[in-house]
């Protein structure tokens, strides 16, 4: 039950986040902004950093719990391996997502 709440709660949270993200893409490409111009605006921005970090956490939680359901239905594995897979995939998503957020907010810090 708790996993269900978390999965659907993060899905609901992602709806406005994705809307803003898409609007931002349309705005940026519509205005012909280049990658460096975009980075110039996101660099050092706590607000965008927080926005995308929340997004990353929500997607990691949602995707990992979702994958657990897929594993339950499609693979003949018990609850423990299902939970292991969930944590593994979730932490992986979190790591990659966080790395991307850092790269956008603090360019140069990861090179």
């Amino acid at each position: 039950m708790r996993l269900y709440i978390l999965q659907r709660g993060t899905a609901a949270l992602m709806v406005p986040l994705i809307a803003i993200h898409l609007a931002l893409i349309v705005y940026a490409t519509g205005n012909g902004l280049t990658a460096s111009e975009i980075l110039a605006r996101t660099r050092g921005s706590i607000a965008w950093g927080l926005f995308y970090q929340v997004f990353v956490i929500a997607a990691a939680v949602h995707g990992a719990i979702g994958l657990r359901s897929v594993a339950r239905d499609w693979l003949r594995i018990g609850p423990r391996p299902q939970t292991g897979l969930m944590w593994g995939f979730g932490l992986l998503l979190l790591a990659f997502g966080t790395r991307a957020v850092i790269a956008v907010v603090f360019p140069g810090s990861l090179s």
Binding site: M1, R2, Y4, I5, R8, S69, R72, D73, W74
Partner: protein, 243 residues
């Protein structure tokens, strides 16, 4: 109509889980149901053929089988609906249930899960209390009415991928019944029912494929009932009544 093939070529599952198909020739008629065909075979060609039926008019829910790969009630399925010019028909027991013999599936897991989902009435009054007055206008009663006509045929259970994938899943019919009872003002089993349907294998295992709704011969929509249960469990979780 019957000027197509004069005979039907009917492949019927024989034996147990490791059985095989046996083909029978059955005279084709203008008005003929799948159940008529099975009965013809048993009376004229193969007396040992096992199958199940009772009412023959779509009320008892005992005649469901796999007809050309899809679960159907056989007493109300006209041959013209499932057989084209070539006259070929394939019959097997309902899927997702252990086969007993020939066309008969073991319905016990289906009804065990019905019980497990608390698909039974918990009285809140005794016979000395006055009769409850239920207005047919209330939202709850209308929700219950919409889902109440289930004949326990198991067609939806056989059609559900989640049942096939997840042996713990209670299935559409049991959860649909739980939903009607959750909307019954006379019922006192609410809290334990919500616990039962939110446990492992409960309503949250449903992926809303709507295969149940597509196949239900009565035209019920278990997916909608299950979505209702999901809402009730989320509300109860937020109130702290479920963990």
């Amino acid at each position: 109509m019957s000027n197509t093939a004069k005979h039907l070529s009917v492949s019927v599952w024989r034996g147990f889980a490791d059985g095989h198909y046996q083909t029978f020739e059955v005279p084709r008629q203008d008005n003929q149901t799948v159940l008529d065909v099975v009965t013809w075979i048993q009376r004229n060609t193969e007396p040992s053929l096992a199958y199940r039926f009772a009412c023959r008019v779509g009320v008892c829910g005992s005649c469901a089988m796999t007809v050309n790969g899809r679960p159907r009630w056989t007493c109300r399925t006209h041959i013209s609906k499932v057989v084209d010019q070539d006259g070929k028909l394939e019959l097997a027991p309902l899927a997702n249930l252990p086969p007993i013999k020939d066309l008969v599936a073991d319905m016990r897991p289906f009804f065990d899960k019905w019980e497990k989902a608390e698909g039974k009435f918990h009285p809140s009054k005794t016979r000395v209390d006055p009769m409850a007055t239920i207005s047919p206008e209330t939202t709850k009663r209308q929700a219950a009415d919409k889902a109440i006509e289930c004949i326990n045929c198991g067609v939806c259970y056989a059609a559900c991928d989640s049942v096939r994938w997840n042996p713990a899943y209670l299935g559409p019919a049991a959860l649909n019944r739980a939903w009607t009872l959750a909307n019954d003002e006379r019922d006192a089993g609410g809290p334990q029912r919500l616990k039962a349907v939110s446990a492992n294998g409960g309503c949250h295992s449903c992926h809303s494929h709507q295969s149940c709704e597509q196949h239900c011969p009565i035209g019920l929509n278990p997916t909608e009932s299950i979505a209702g249960l999901k809402r009730l469990t989320v509300d109860a979780y937020i109130r702290g009544e479920l963990s």
